[in-house]
């Protein structure tokens, strides 16, 4: 198999080299070839030996980490659908295949359209096709409600890849997380299909299902917010497991935790950002409770562990905030960056009257702030160095 591939790839290679028939399509050939077989390239100078890890593997590890959330999201989409349609006697596999029918087109559209732009830019700009798109192409659909129209998926990922990434020069140079940029674009361009009570379950026409965060927007007299949530069917355990309506990939905190474990253990996701985010959320929760203004939403009374399982906090902090390109780059910066994301998420959740969910906006805002954080960390480092050397 390997020998055959090597021979075959060697044979068609000249077609894509300068002077060949498909010279312009070289990045496509290169992507294909290195997908099938690792490159034969040897080191050009020191160091003469290199670690086996490359960026392809790095990005694939993130995709691996997303698999539990993806599979659970698919199952949950089907489960919620069958629940809303009151399908009797549906088995696990019924839910799963229904979910597959709902989610697969969304994921495939994202990959196909995103891939198209990635390849186009690679060919025009003559740079290799970036593996980063394997991650963005999956992250983006997981942030969408299962009812999203496919044309919006296509438009969103186009915006994310082109405006969010390629105009900055491609992977490694983007300021914002491309998947979140795509989602933010849809959120503001087509709010009807991505927010409110109607979109989270692919139910019968006119079917509404308020999310926990939506419920937390309005006060209910005479009961605590946790009781209100429980009455609506949102117990802590249920939200931890993720059997509630929501964006495809974000409902299950357990699936996100498995992903977090894969990212942290493989050394690819920054644990500093994740821990910082959790600490920021806890700090924010206590701080806002201490302030306790009547203008705050009832969500302020929710204990912080509820905040962690509600909405997309877990998904955002594990998969979105840790994107190394758009996050802070220094170790101290990562703590600050993660902490402020967690803190901002909580503040927006309890204080902003318009948006029920804050994760996307908090992360995008901190994406923009990350270079500033790093700047101060580096300046402090320079000052410390000077003291050490001149002392």
């Amino acid at each position: 198999m390997k020998a055959f591939l090597e021979k075959h790839l060697e044979k068609i290679r000249p077609l894509f080299l300068p002077g060949g028939k498909f010279e312009r399509l070289y990045p496509l050939h290169e992507a294909n070839e290195t997908f099938l077989l690792t490159p034969a390239e040897v080191t050009h100078g020191p160091p003469h030996v290199r670690d086996q890890l490359d960026l392809k593997r790095t990005m694939i590890m993130v995709v691996f980490a997303l698999i539990p959330a993806t599979l659970f999201g698919i199952f949950n989409a089907g489960y919620q659908h069958n629940l809303a349609h009151q399908v009797a006697g549906a088995t696990f596999w019924d839910h799963f295949f229904k979910g597959l029918a709902i989610c697969l087109p969304i994921i495939l559209t994202s990959y196909a359209v995103g891939g198209f732009w990635e390849v186009l830019f690679a060919i025009v700009r003559k740079h290799p096709i970036s593996e980063g798109f394997l991650v963005s192409g999956l992250l983006f659909p997981l942030t969408l409600p299962p009812t999203i129209p496919l044309w919006q998926v296509a438009l969103g990922i186009t915006f994310g890849i082109v405006i969010g990434k390629e105009i900055f020069g491609g992977t490694g140079f983007n300021v914002l997380n491309p998947a979140l940029t795509a989602r933010a674009f849809l959120y503001f361009a087509y709010p009807a299909q991505i927010s409110g009570d109607k979109v989270w379950v692919s139910g019968p026409d006119g079917f509404t299902y308020a999310t926990p965060l939506g419920i937390g927007m309005v006060p209910h007299a005479g009961e605590t917010i946790t009781e209100t949530l429980e009455k609506a069917g949102f117990t802590f355990e249920k939200m931890l497991i993720g059997l509630e309506p929501g964006s495809i990939g974000e409902t299950s905190v357990i699936a996100c935790l498995i992903g977090a474990a894969i990212l942290v253990l493989s050394g690819i996701g920054s644990w500093r950002i994740m821990v910082g985010g959790v600490l920021g959320l806890i700090f924010g929760s206590y701080l806002m409770q201490a302030i306790g203004s009547p203008n705050l939403k009832p969500l302020v009374d929710l204990p912080f562990w509820y905040h962690m399982v509600i909405g997309s906090f877990a998904f955002g902090i594990v998969f979105m905030a840790t994107d190394p390109v758009s996050a802070a780059a220094t170790n101290a910066g990562k703590w600050i960056y993660g902490f402020l994301i967690g803190f901002l998420i909580l503040v927006i959740r309890v204080a902003n009257p318009a948006y029920p969910e804050a994760v996307m906006l908090a992360i995008l805002f901190m994406n923009v702030m990350a270079p500033l954080i790093d700047h101060y960390v580096v300046q402090a480092h320079i000052k410390r160095r000077a003291r050490h050397v001149y002392a």
């Binding site: 198999m1 390997k2 591939l5 090597e6 290195t34 997908f35 099938l36 077989l37 690792t38 490159p39 034969a40 390239e41 040897v42 080191t43 050009h44 100078g45 020191p46 160091p47 003469h48 030996v49 290199r50 670690d51 086996q52 890890l53 490359d54 960026l55 392809k56 593997r57 790095t58 694939i60 590890m61 290799p128 970036s130 593996e131 980063g132 491609g170 992977t171 490694g172 140079f173 253990l265 493989s266 050394g267 690819i268 920054s270 190394p324 390109v325 996050a327 780059a329 220094t330 170790n331 990562k334 580096v378 480092h381 320079i382 410390r384 160095r385 000077a386 050490h388 050397v389 001149y390």
Partner: protein, 455 residues
Amino acid sequence: MASFTIRKGLNIRLVGAPEPEIADAPESTAVAVIPPEFGPIKVRLDVQEGARVRRGQALFHDKKNPAMRGTAPAAGVVTSIQLGPRRVVERITIQVEGDDVEPYPRLDPAAVRKADRAEILDVLLKSGLIQLIRQRPFGRAANPEATPKSIFVNGMATGPYQPDINVMIKGRETAFQAGIDALTKLTPGKVFLCLDGARQNAAALTDVKNAEVHTFEGPHPSGNTSVHISRLDPMKPTDVIWTVKAVDLLQIGHLLLNGEVPSHRIVSLGGPAVQEGRRKYYRVRIGQPLKTWLDPHLIKVETRVIRGDIFSGEKVAADDVVRLLDNGYTVLAEDRTRHLLGWAMPGFSYFSVSRAFLSPWLGGLKREWALGTNQHGELRPMVLTGLYDKYMPLNIMVDYVVRAVLANDTEEAIKLGILETLPEDYAVCAFACPSKMDLVGIIRKGLEDIEKEGI
């Protein structure tokens, strides 16, 4: 004496380390000097083709700094002077005949201790062995005009397959002490000797006189002189420090005690592509073509010979010779193996310091490896951040030094401490880099730019 334990860095267990025994290499009848070895100098020839030269006689000097000379490593007749583009002298070949030596002052150990700075410098400059003393920042040959605030002697080598001073010093203890004594004349400050705390060091090293002995322990690059300087005598950007490898100091000691430029030196030979039983130390003639004595020792595959260590050393050209500054060679197999769907494989047999493969989880880091030259991936933009810092024992933010150099912001690079480092200090970071960035080359360029512009 202080002991330092360095935590950051990388130790790989590799097959093919040189055995601690010394063999004589077969001698060649022609030797060559390659002036570009000595960095950016303007060569002015002192001999013509056909001239008869003595060992230690000047072959050329630097036009910008006439005191800097290159000398003949053997006596004989200059058979060819090879010029490259723009009449740059690329190679001076000498046919070895007899063993006439250019006489230099012959000092006994007591005389070395009594000598003054000018005397020692004069011998080092005339013999060309000043090249063995390197100057920080930039890592060039020591400039005799400068007064170093201290001198660091590096008596350890944490890089894979590097020669062990303990093997080489046997029988040359007085030469080593003479070298140390000479160094004390060159600086108003201290002479530091840094040794590997994890080894049993020879008494001639641990009990050396007139130098401060310190030990360092930990993974590579804890043996790099930059690490020693940062812990013992940190540099300001305007400071000058001289450094010399203990194995090179033996050559200087030989010159002072015997009054002649050494014709031979001991080098180590290691690496997985060297035949078993041939991985050891060899006494070789300086200037001898490498091919003649190396080739019979290598296994019959496509190989790459590296002078220095596999992280920061330099690839050797096919017609290269034993250079004045060489003290060890490593030979690796050129590895062009392709793996089917490498991005998806569990990776039981992959060497990786990352935990994205299964081998590091299954004790892979403790196994012995025979690494080849495969790059394992293609060049990509910098994506993962904070990774380099795990392999940088200096107080340096690698990501930001690299970014400053790439942005041509030399001022920022200096503030971030680039002048306290040499390209070799970034080699382990580059090894681990998943984007396969050329950190060593980037830093080298950054330092060259600063050197050209002036600090």
